[in-house]
C-alpha cells in the first residue's frame, strides 16, 4: 500500500476539522472538558475577536497549568462585557485592575503567590492595545525589566474600541478612527507614528515574546502552552479584529485576521531573550488590498479616486516586514 502525505489546511471554518487529527493534536477548544474560563452570557458584540481570543487563551492556559491560573484584566472591552454586576462570565479567579496597571497588579499577584508558598498558581494579565502600548506601557516595561513571573496578553484590536473607536498607539497607518478621520487630504491615522509592542518587548530581552491571531487556533493555543511552560516575563500579542471598530462583517473576523497575516501586515513570530527564534511563513500571499477592502475603516482609500498612494505605502510596509521577518511564502497557490 502506498501512502501519500496530505497537507491539511485550516480553511474558512475548519472544514477539515479536528476529526482528522489525533487526540494529542486537537485543540483545547475542541475538547468537552475545556475550562470555559469565559463562559456564555457575556455582552460582547457579534463576531468579537477579543472574546474569541480570551476564551482560547485562558482555556489553553488552564490546560497547560492544570487549572492553576488567576488573571488580572485591564479596563477595556473584555472587562466591561464580561462582568456586568451582578453577573460574571469568568469561571477563573479574576481581578479587574485599572486601565494602565494590569502589569503592575499582576506583578503584585505573582509576588504574593511566591511569598505565600503558592508558586504553582500562575498569573496571566489581559489587556487591550490601549492598556498595553499607551497608558499601560510604564507598568508593562517595569514588569518586563524585573522579569516578573507574568504572562501578559495583549488583545490588539488596534484602537480604543470600548470608548468609541479612538486611535491608539497600535492603530495602523491609513486607518480611520473617531480621532483620525480622513478629512480632506487626510489619510486617516498618520504614517510614521505608532509603536510596535512585540519589538519593544523583545528589546527588554524577556524569556518569550510571540504574536498570534484568532485565525490560527492551534498556533495561538500552542504559544500559550509554550509561554506557560516558562517562568519570568512573557508577552503574547494577539491580533483580534473588531467588527464594530474595523467595519468588517461579524462573520469575517477569522478571515480578516488570516488576511492580515497572509498579506504580511501582521507578522507572526516568536522571540526569546531578545532574539527572533521563529517566524511563520506566509502560506498564500495576498496583496494588502484584499485585506483592506473588507474593512470600512479603510474605505476612504478606495472610494472615488481613492488613495492608491496610501495603499502602496501599506503594501511597501508589508513587503518590508515580510523581508525583515523572513515570511516569504513557502509556496504559491
Amino acid at each position: 500500500m502506498t501512502t501519500t502525505p496530505l497537507k491539511l489546511y485550516q480553511v474558512g471554518t475548519f472544514a477539515a476539522g479536528n476529526r482528522l487529527l489525533g487526540p494529542g493534536e486537537r485543540t483545547v477548544q475542541s475538547s468537552m472538558d475545556r475550562a470555559s474560563c469565559i463562559t456564555s452570557g457575556h455582552r460582547a458584540c457579534r463576531g468579537c475577536g477579543e472574546a474569541l481570543a480570551a476564551r482560547v487563551v485562558m482555556d489553553a492556559a488552564m490546560r497547560a497549568t492544570g487549572g492553576r491560573v488567576v488573571t488580572v484584566n485591564a479596563t477595556g472591552c473584555l472587562e466591561v462585557f464580561s462582568t456586568p454586576y451582578p453577573e460574571s462570565a469568568w469561571q477563573v479567579p479574576w481581578l479587574h485592575s485599572l486601565f494602565g496597571n494590569a502589569a503592575a497588579v499582576a506583578s503584585g499577584v505573582a509576588a504574593a503567590m511566591r511569598a505565600t508558598g503558592r508558586d504553582d498558581v500562575r498569573v496571566l494579565a489581559q489587556a487591550g492595545d490601549g492598556g498595553t502600548v499607551d497608558i499601560g506601557l510604564g507598568c508593562l516595561s517595569g514588569m518586563f525589566e524585573r522579569n516578573d513571573d507574568v504572562l501578559f496578553v495583549c488583545y490588539d484590536n488596534q484602537g480604543y474600541m470600548n470608548t468609541g473607536v479612538q486611535r491608539s498607539g497600535a492603530t495602523p497607518a491609513g486607518a480611520s478612527t473617531a480621532t483620525t478621520r480622513p478629512v480632506g487630504d487626510g489619510v486617516g491615522n498618520a504614517f510614521g507614528t505608532g509603536k510596535n509592542l512585540p519589538r519593544i518587548a523583545m528589546a527588554h530581552d524577556i524569556p518569550y515574546v510571540a504574536t498570534a491571531t484568532v485565525a490560527d487556533l492551534h498556533d495561538l493555543e500552542a504559544k500559550v502552552a509554550i509561554a506557560m511552560a516558562r517562568r519570568g516575563a512573557r508577552y503574547l500579542h494577539v491580533l483580534v479584529p473588531c467588527p464594530l471598530g474595523w467595519g468588517s462583517q461579524p462573520a469575517d473576523t477569522v478571515r480578516v485576521a488570516r488576511l492580515a497575516t497572509q498579506s504580511g501586515l501582521f507578522p507572526v513570530f516568536e522571540a526569546e531573550n531578545g532574539m527572533l527564534t521563529h517566524a511563520t511563513p506566509i502560506r498564500r500571499r495576498v496583496p494588502v488590498e484584499e485585506y483592506l477592502r473588507l474593512q470600512t475603516r479603510f474605505q476612504h482609500l478606495f472610494v472615488g479616486p481613492g488613495r492608491p498612494d496610501v495603499v502602496a505605502a501599506l503594501q511597501a510596509q508589508a513587503d518590508r516586514d515580510i523581508a525583515r521577518f523572513g515570511l516569504a511564502p513557502e509556496e504559491e497557490s
Partner: protein
C-alpha cells in the same frame, strides 16, 4: 527596646516585624530612608519570604500592593507628595475593592511650585479616597501606628495610610522603642483575607457596577468607614495593653480639662504644642492642645465631646483647600459645639518651621483678639512681601490686611 535611631529606620524595622509578604518600593524624598532600610533588611534575609518589588513608579507600587492584597498577601508601600498623587487613581481602587494594606505617607507639600519639605497637603488632597488616615504626633507614635495599621486594615478590610511629617520626623534621630518580633507576633494575627484570588475557589473581583447598584455599594462602604471609629479605639486599647504605651486612637488631648483655649492640630506640631501649653499654664494661661490622630474617618462625636465647654479653639492647618478655606479647620468648625469661637490659621506650609515661639504668640494673639475670629489667617505669611506683590498685580484694588485667603 529603647534605641537612638532615625525615625525612618524605626518605621522600616517595625514594618519588617509585621511580616509583610510583599513590599513595593519607589523612592521619593523624604520617604527614601524607609524603603532603603527595608531593602537592606530584605537583602539580609530578615524578611523572608517577603518579596520586595522595585517598581517603576508610585502608580506601579500601589498597583502591585493591590494585586498582592487581592491574592491574600500582607502588602506595604510608602510615598509622599507627588508620589501619592501619581497613585491617585489606585487609591479609591484599593478602598473600593476593600483591600487591606498599609502605606506610609511621609508628609510633604504638593507642587507646583515643587517643594520637598513638610506640610500636610499630600494626605489631605486624598482625604476622600476611602482610606483610613492616621497622623503620628511623634516617631514613637509613628512606629506604634504602623503595627496598629496592619491590625486595623485586616480587621476592617480597608487600606490604611499612616502619616508622619517628612524630614521633621522621618529624618530625626531620637529615642524610639521599636517593638521586637515576639511582641508584634503576639499582637498581630496572621492575615486572613475576606476573599482572595484562589483557583480552588474562583471569584470575580472588580465587576462593573451600574446605576442600579452603585449607590448601595457606596453607602455600605461609607458605613464600613464609620464603623472604623470604634475599631480604631479598640485597636489602640489592645495595643496599650500589649505594649504598655498610649498610642493611636482617635484623639490625643493634652491638658484640655478646664482650658480656656485649645489648639487643635495634627502631626509633629503636637510635640511643640505640649511644651507651649506647659509654658503658658505656668504663666497663668489655661491653654490645652487637642491632637487629631484619626483624620479619616473623621471623629465627629469625639471632637465635639472634647471641645465641650471650651470657649476658644484655634486650629493649626498645615494644608489649605484652595478657593475654599481650611481643611482641618472646617472639619473642627462643623464638629465644635455651638458657641465655640474657632480661629482658623495656616502655619508651616512647605516646610516653614512651626516654632514654639510662634505657637505661643499665636495663642496670646488669639486671646487678645488680635486675630479675626471668622476668617482663615495665614499666620506666618510675610505680609509686607505679599502686599508689594499684590500691589503690583492689582494696583489700588489690593487688600492690605492679608487676612483673607
Amino acid at each position: 527596646m529603647l534605641r537612638q535611631l532615625e525615625g525612618s529606620r524605626a518605621v522600616a524595622e517595625t514594618v519588617a516585624r509585621c511580616r509583610p509578604h510583599v513590599v513595593a518600593a519607589y523612592p521619593i524624598s523624604p520617604q527614601t530612608h524607609i524603603v532603603e532600610a527595608l531593602s537592606d533588611l530584605v537583602a539580609a534575609g530578615q524578611l523572608a519570604p517577603c518579596q520586595y518589588l522595585l517598581v517603576e513608579s508610585e502608580f506601579g507600587a500601589l498597583s502591585a500592593c493591590i494585586g498582592a492584597s487581592a491574592a491574600g498577601a500582607r502588602a506595604y508601600t510608602a510615598t509622599s507628595s507627588q508620589g501619592l498623587l501619581f497613585m491617585a487613581e489606585a487609591l479609591p481602587n484599593a478602598s473600593g475593592l476593600g483591600l487591606p494594606m498599609v502605606m506610609t505617607v511621609a508628609n510633604r507639600a504638593l507642587g507646583a511650585p515643587i517643594n520637598i519639605w513638610n506640610d500636610h497637603s499630600d494626605a489631605m488632597s486624598q482625604r476622600d479616597a476611602g482610606w483610613l488616615i492616621l497622623f503620628a504626633s511623634s516617631n514613637q507614635e509613628a512606629v506604634d501606628l504602623h503595627v496598629q495599621a496592619f491590625a486595623l486594615a485586616e480587621r476592617l478590610s480597608l487600606p490604611v495610610m499612616v502619616c508622619m511629617d517628612g524630614f521633621v520626623l522621618t529624618h530625626a534621630v531620637e529615642e524610639i522603642d521599636v517593638p521586637d518580633q515576639a511582641q508584634v507576633d503576639a499582637y498581630l494575627p496572621a492575615f486572613r483575607p475576606r476573599q482572595q484570588l484562589d483557583p480552588d475557589d474562583p471569584v470575580t473581583i472588580g465587576a462593573m457596577v451600574g446605576p442600579e447598584a452603585f449607590t448601595e455599594v457606596k453607602y455600605l462602604m461609607a458605613q464600613r468607614q464609620l464603623r472604623a471609629l470604634d475599631v480604631v479605639t479598640e485597636v489602640a486599647d489592645t495595643f496599650a495593653t500589649a505594649f504598655g504605651r498610649d498610642s493611636g486612637g482617635l484623639l490625643r488631648p493634652y491638658r484640655t480639662e478646664d482650658a480656656d483655649v485649645v489648639v487643635v492640630a495634627q502631626g509633629s506640631v503636637l510635640g511643640s504644642l505640649a511644651d507651649v501649653v506647659d509654658d503658658l499654664r505656668e504663666t497663668g494661661v489655661a491653654a490645652g492642645a487637642l491632637g487629631v490622630t484619626c483624620y479619616r474617618p473623621w471623629p465627629w462625636d469625639a471632637v465635639r465631646r472634647a471641645l465641650l465647654g471650651i470657649p476658644r479653639v484655634i486650629v493649626v492647618n498645615r494644608a489649605v483647600a484652595v478657593g475654599s478655606g481650611s481643611i482641618l479647620g472646617q472639619d473642627v468648625r462643623l464638629s465644635a459645639p455651638a458657641g465655640t469661637t474657632v480661629s482658623d490659621v495656616v502655619l508651616g506650609l512647605g516646610g516653614r518651621p512651626v516654632t514654639r515661639d510662634g505657637l505661643r504668640r499665636l495663642v496670646l494673639d488669639v486671646l487678645a483678639g488680635r486675630l479675626d475670629g471668622e476668617a482663615l489667617t495665614y499666620y506666618d505669611v510675610d505680609r509686607e512681601r505679599v502686599a508689594v506683590e499684590l500691589a503690583r498685580e492689582l494696583g489700588d484694588a489690593a487688600p492690605t490686611s492679608g487676612a483673607r485667603p
